[in-house]
Amino acid sequence: MPIKVENLTKEFNGRKVLNNISFEVATGEILSIVGFSGSGKSTVLKILSGLLEKDSGNITIDEGDIAMVFQYSALFDSLNVFDNISFALQERKEYKHKYTKMQLKEIVAKSLATVGLSGIEDKFPYELSGGMQKRVSLARAIVTKPAFILYDEPTAGLDPVASTVIEDYILRLRDETKATSIVVTHQMSTITRCSDKVIMLYDGNIVFRGTPEELCKGETPYTKQFITASTQGPMKIAASGLI
């Protein structure tokens, strides 16, 4: 398996956010991670991309670039959209000086077009709406054609049409580059349209794993509560550290 996680555990200030989590993702597969706010979804992605240290457990990831789309975009606010998207191509060792300015312009224009935002190369991040920033950060993450893509809520805060554009894009990217992806999301449409497998996190544990169809059937207490968005059920908001 290209991504294999075994018994991953992570604590923050004595609270176990992830408690012995295991899952794996096959090549070209899209795994969705769902769960309440604060259940540790972003933490999983950050550990996979090497931004956070794990406390214990085993992670094996095949050779290849890991790209991450951040939950709050994390665009470089002193650089314009062009420099943001071409950042890796301009500054990373193996790409430096590989492309001419014209080629860079072409690449950036193309990737902006695919996320539906042509012609905003000269704008700065503060001039963009939240949803636009999100799409620019998506374009920035995948400009190097990575083998693994971790999306942290790629469609949160987007209107339904823009969401569909992003979902289509995630699928197309997978078909074109055989990228292996993990998508953290709350959005039902993203789960059903994009993912091959779903896992649900709650209180540090995986309480459901299966296909999107199984999730939608709502046969276990957890999935039932998730799809009906009910406050009644086994999952309590307090346990996710919100109260």
Binding site: K46, I66, M68, F70, Y72, D77, S78, R92, A141
Partner: protein, 270 residues
């Protein structure tokens, strides 16, 4: 036992003590980080892993942003100094020493120190808050995930810019300070001519002093950037974290300037 502890924890002495200890711990931590960053800078310099484009950009920003405030502070200090000593020296028959005195103080002390203070407030604080904001908004994480070293792209160029730009700024500021001092002394002290001022300045300028000034300002420029960037880089936790990092950077830089100045005074003038 529990009760005693609970009672103790309520007392003011206990609260002050724990607050004090936590500040000491904070200080030791940041001191450790700064030393660590210092050696990291040396390592990258020795292996020549330098982003020249960023160095040039940061240096020009350093110079352009700092010159107006540095010039005005150094010139004002020199004008005030000259205003106070010129009439007195003229009265005591020492009008030939005005230039010497101003040149000596400018080159040995005031030029560097005042520029340092100006640069902390202008450059240090902005470097700290910029890096801190990038840290808390995950921009530094994003850079790491794009496989570009934030240390090489953000940190090192700022430190190098401090080392190479500060001497220029100080030289310009001191020169302007000396000229302004002369003009003031001509206005304030009777019989002081430009020629007599310049001759006297010439007597007070030593190559050794100027070399030491350049060396000292490079050290101070590097220290300000190193401290400010380190504090920014270690920031955590939202807007408050950015504020804390900036405060820490400014305070520590002030202390560092005084310490460096003291070391130089002991090493070269005793």
């Amino acid at each position: 036992m529990e009760k005693v502890r609970f009672f103790l924890e309520q007392t003011i002495t206990y609260k002050i003590l724990t607050l004090f200890l936590s500040h000491v711990k904070d200080f030791l931590e940041i001191f450790g980080t700064i030393s660590y960053r210092f050696f990291q800078v040396l390592k990258y310099l020795c292996t020549l892993q330098i982003n020249y484009k960023q160095v040039i950009e940061q240096s020009s920003r350093f110079a352009v942003d700092s010159l107006p405030i540095t010039l005005s502070i150094v010139i004002m200090t020199s004008v005030i100094l000259s205003m106070q000593i010129s009439p007195e020296l003229v009265k005591q028959g020492g009008k030939d020493f005005i230039g010497l005195l101003i040149a000596l103080t400018m080159v040995r002390e005031i030029g560097v120190i005042m520029s340092g203070f100006a640069i902390i407030s202008m450059i240090g604080s902005s470097q700290a808050s910029e890096l801190a904001t990038m840290k808390v908004t995950e921009q530094i994480d994003a850079m790491k995930s794009l496989k570009v070293s934030p240390f090489k792209y953000l940190f090192l160029p700022r430190v190098i810019a401090g080392v190479i730009t500060m001497p220029f700024v100080v030289v310009i500021a001191s020169a302007c300070g000396i000229i302004a001092g002369g003009l003031t002394s001509m206005a304030a002290g009777k019989d002081v001519t430009w020629l007599c001022y310049v001759t006297s300045v010439w007597q007070g300028l030593y190559i050794r002093d100027i070399n030491i000034m350049l060396f000292k300002s490079a050290c101070i420029g590097g220290a300000i950037s190193l401290i400010s960037s380190s504090c920014g880089y270690e920031a955590k936790g939202g807007a408050k974290g950015v504020g804390n990092a900036t405060t820490k950077a400014v305070v520590l830089s002030f202390v560092a300037i005084v310490i460096i100045d003291c070391i130089f005074a002991i090493a070269f003038y005793i």
